[in-house]
Symmetry: C2
Subunit: 651 residues, 2 copies
């Protein structure tokens, strides 16, 4: 006997008044049902998909709609659907409105039935009653509006540029919230619990919403840290429902641990909540085996220190941020997954990207040590950071730009020595963000090379030249057509790293130019090419080597939104949360006269007027807070919940 | 960075002449591509789904078809499709024909490219050349016809009843072959390797095709036995690709082991290949740990003997043939799977069905022992069988019919003591097939009760009365709506057991009446109710308590076909493979004058004329083979490859 797709046999519905109930297998065991209601009498209804669509009709012309007549079908098995048929005659100019409510109910064990075999609909009726009239819906919508207005009020900007205002004030933070709500475990492209949430992804997503919902960010950090291994390593993914690590994929992505420091530092800088560091957090979801969050961060830091390669650079493991650069995989079997295929224990392949990430985030850990009075700990950590900086300059620079990595054989990747894939975007971004080579002028060299070799009208491609064939020592990255995905596509996720790097060396015009090349609001004119909603970032835009250059893919569910938000709000507009306050350090196009940022920070509201009479890109000449001159460039936390007027003079 | 649905980004196609090649991610690693060709010049083509369908068109009206104009789209990412546009003008009465070929190619490592980056299409061209002209296709079709004619020629019948002839000669054996080819690991309802093949299922399926492709049946038996555990237990499912047991579901279905004896006996009776018993077969897929197939059968037999309950009946374990009767599960969590939920080690719940199956198949094992000269082994086994028969009569009969089981608390299931589910079909079938209670007249009682309590115009429901609520001590069976699936649906899989049981007690009219109630050929007149192709058995027909009584579900991929084939060809038409030959023992409607079966058996062809001048149902008066009178009712194996004329007189 076979047991497949029982729901094909058992789909059940019930009609009561103008409400359609979907109650497949609702019994003493199953406790949930769905409903779909209308707040008016029905001329008819349908609950059976075939009866509604017709045997051969497409979804674009359901039989009952074409016929203008419902068949009052009661689904029994196959595919239950819900459709209301309402008859209405409208005089010229007359209008009317209806409320339709789609709801889901779970009944408690002892309240499942209103009478034997009849579902208890009390909760459904209550939900429907809430929205009986048009005014109820308007009330609910205005509550929703208020909810979003509040979320979107934490950081707003007024500039001369409507598109910029729209991105910063509405759509970019909105996408950050959607990304938080859905993470990567549901999307247009994924569903179910197959994938889970990324350890790396979730820490980065957090950067985009921590100022909106800091308490949720706190939970998320604890959840993520709770999946960390004792040795500081991490599952690559975990399940949001069970909060357990995803054994399918496992770990070995050696950049993962560091992102926990990035996320935690961002949370503390936003909230000043240093107490989170003392939270007892499990290892590998084991409540009996815990340590403070600070200890987790320490293990993250030392997981890198303890896994260095021949050049003193971090071992890449299974992969770093670029999941598709698989240097220890050597997969020759068609269709096997690079994420789960057995990985060589090779301790040769190193990642310059992780080196940059370490130098970027290491100082945060050092600072946290100091603030806990662990000066020796701080000094030791700082020494590791300095050593990494030196190793990167010695072995991570290739003359005109930062190398990407060393492969399993110790050969350079992202070097002029390479036939293809001579330069990669990631290390140019993170090494410069970390300040590596800034004094030496290497940072500018790296960014000029990025400009010359990777930049296109649609953004910066991930690497170049693209791989024209499969390289078994590089893995998945070389399995894609040129110009797509990691094989030289434009990743909207790492483009902001270059914007931020340009800001580090003070090139505001370049930084903003890069921002506007991929910011959706600026792409409306090429919507027919871009082919994604002009208010949402996509994961990738097809690169210059692609058949459809400029076509975006995989919108919404990407960590892209957070980094673009950080790049524009912190690096370019220059309002940066710091341990003790808000650092003011814009890096803007010289042409700008100024702009105003309103920032809610730790309960106070700062209205920050930036003035740029000298038309510089960077450099704060003077700051006043409520008329008082500020000695440094960090707004102190007033803590009075009041509105503070801040004037900033650039020059 | 997220890695979802890479194919959305990387779909690739290539057009050459009138051939569309789908080559997504074909590289030095991936080695396969598909092609779709036409044997005529193209006016155009499409390979991009959106371009072909249009943005909002349903599948029922693709834009290019409506427009009568291809857009020559080259897919790049998203969803590659293949569509040829051909222009042709036909005069009145004129006709023309085209060949379209859909093909799949895997290239060897060293023959992947015809030039750098260009796929080697040699194999595709060769396949296309094979079918260049209409005559090529006709040739191929006639070869296919010949292939099927040969497969379907092993058992054919000529009766006065066209529908019966059609079922026995074509559609039933055809479905048996499809079931063999697809097993349960692919269907309208399942795809991928999620489910795997059933240990129990595959052994039963084998009964339906062993006479058509005995050598494949042999392989299948070895494959199945190779997944068996040392203790005689079995994985419930195994993966056809890896031939490893399915750990997800695991074992503990205590009827599973016995089906290996059923399948092996059927294979030996068909072929006379006793040598298969000496094959070395692994346990749990471990090639280093093997035993003879005979030893596997012995462990199957003793897995039951070693797992008896308080009444000396077999413990049911996780479930028996009825996967949904979960007596040790006690699941109260909505949506958890009954097949994987932790199972109590309770050694109380017993299955009368397994008892019947044991008494039915035990004698096969006894016979195999004797033929290997293991007389003590045979005597011991026979004693176990006799004891089981006694236990079943003592504790498995409920006054008017056989009990179904005892639950975890030792309470009866399928008894008048029960509020619902008072009588089940399975034990009535298998206990009588095993001959239990025939002499005592209990068999007839059981079948009369089945008739009175379970039979409907559409077939025999699984049990009655259906469960109106969820019983935590019964499990999944009570989670369905009344009349569907195991909760009193009509399973076409176990209906034949009653046909065979009726034949055991000589009631040919009843047996055939039951056969024709569910045989698709007899259901054409109610196709609008039955709603499944009138040539294929479905897993289930909605029972008398269902909303849509008579509606069939889950066609094709069900073990149903094999048992119906055995019931009609062996029990009713009465041509039964035996260890030493073909037993002739029809049990037919009294009204029949006779019929002719042509049976290919071990290389010989027997044309068997059954004559029924006395209009009896059962009872062979005389048999002649090529004019010579036969002393018993078993046609000996001539072994001369010739055609033998057999005359059988009933009376």
């Amino acid at each position: 006997m076979t047991n497949f797709q029982r729901n094909l046999s058992t789909g059940e519905v019930e009609i009561q008044g103008s409400v359609i109930y979907h109650k497949t297998e609702y019994r003493e065991r199953r406790n949930h049902y769905a409903f779909f209601s209308a707040n008016c009498p029905l001329a008819g209804f349908d609950t059976d998909r075939e009866a509604f669509l017709g045997l051969y009709n497409g979804l674009d012309q359901p039989q009952t709609v074409i016929a203008g007549q419902a068949s009052n079908s009661i689904a029994s098995g196959w595919s239950p659907i819900g459709s209301h048929c309402i008859e209405v005659i409208l005089e010229p100019g007359e209008e009317t409105s209806y409320n339709f409510i789609l709801g889901y109910v779970e009944n408690p064990e002892d309240e499942k039935w209103e009478s034997p075999g009849v579902i208890n609909k009390k909760q459904a009726h209550a939900m429907i009653a809430q929205f009986a009239n048009e005014s109820d819906v308007e009330r609910a919508l205005s509550e929703l509006r208020a909810y979003w207005n509040n979320l979107l009020s934490k950081y707003t900007v007024q500039t001369h540029d409507d598109k910029l205002n729209r991105m910063v004030n509405i759509w970019n933070p909105y996408q950050c919230m959607v990304t938080f709500n859905m993470s990567r475990s549901a999307s247009y492209f994924e569903s179910g619990i197959g994938r889970g949430m990324g350890f790396r992804d979730s820490n980065q997503d957090l950067l985009g919403f921590v100022h909106q919902i800091p308490e949720r960010a706190r939970e998320r950090i604890i959840d993520i840290a709770s999946t960390q291994f004792e040795n500081g390593g991490a599952y690559h993914q975990y399940q949001p429902l069970t909060k357990k690590g995803n054994h399918e994929v496992g770990g070995g992505f050696n950049d993962d641990p560091l992102w926990l420091i990035v996320g935690t530092a961002a949370y503390i800088k936003e909230t000043g909540d240093f107490d989170i560091l003392d939270e007892q957090v499990p290892f590998d979801g084991n409540a009996d085996h815990t340590a403070t969050l600070f200890e987790h961060l320490k293990r993250s830091f030392y997981h890198v220190v303890g896994n260095l390669g021949p050049h003193g650079l971090p071992l890449i493991g299974r992969a770093d941020w670029n999941d598709c650069l698989n240097l220890n995989c050597f997969s020759s079997t068609p269709d096997e997954s690079y994420q789960t295929t057995q990985n060589l224990e090779g301790r040769i392949a190193e990642s310059v990207f992780i080196a940059g990430l370490f130098v970027y985030t290491g100082p945060e850990f050092v600072e946290l040590c100091k603030r806990r009075g662990l000066d020796n700990e701080a000094a030791t950590a700082q020494a590791h950071v300095d050593r990494m900086r030196t190793s990167t300059l010695e072995h991570g620079f290739d003359g005109e730009w930062f190398l990407r990595a060393y492969d399993h054989h110790g050969h350079k990747i992202g070097s002029t020595d390479c036939e293809e894939g001579q330069i990669f975007i990631e290390p140019q971004g993170f090494c410069v963000m970390a300040g590596i080579g800034v004094e030496e002028g290497l940072a500018q060299k790296a960014l000029d090379s990025t400009h010359a070799r990777l930049e296109t009208p649609c953004g910066i491609v991930l690497q170049n030249p693209p791989y024209s064939r499969y390289y078994i020592n590089l893995g998945e990255i070389s399995s894609y057509p040129p110009g797509y995905k990691e094989n030289a596509g434009i990743f909207c996720h790492n483009n902001p790293w270059i914007m931020m790097a340009e800001a580090v060396i003070g090139r505001g015009d370049r930084a903003f130019e890069l921002y506007s090349k991929i910011a959706p609001a600026y792409l409306e004119d090429i919507s027919d090419i871009h082919r994604t909603e002009p208010y949402v970032y996509a994961q990738m835009i097809a690169g210059k080597d692609a058949v459809r250059e400029g076509e975006a893919k995989n919108s919404w569910l990407t960590g892209t939104a957070a980094w673009n938000f950080i790049a524009i709000t912190q690096s370019i507009l220059g309002i940066q949360p710091e341990w003790n306050g808000l650092r003011i350090d814009p890096c803007i196009p010289k042409g700008w006269d100024g702009y105003t940022v309103t920032r809610v920070f730790r309960g106070d509201t700062y209205v920050i007027h930036i003035m740029n009479p000298q038309h510089v890109s960077k450099g704060v000449a003077a700051i006043t807070v409520d008329g008082t001159v500020l000695m440094d460039h960090i707004l102190p936390v007033a803590g009075d919940g009041a509105v503070h007027q801040v004037k900033v003079l650039l020059g």
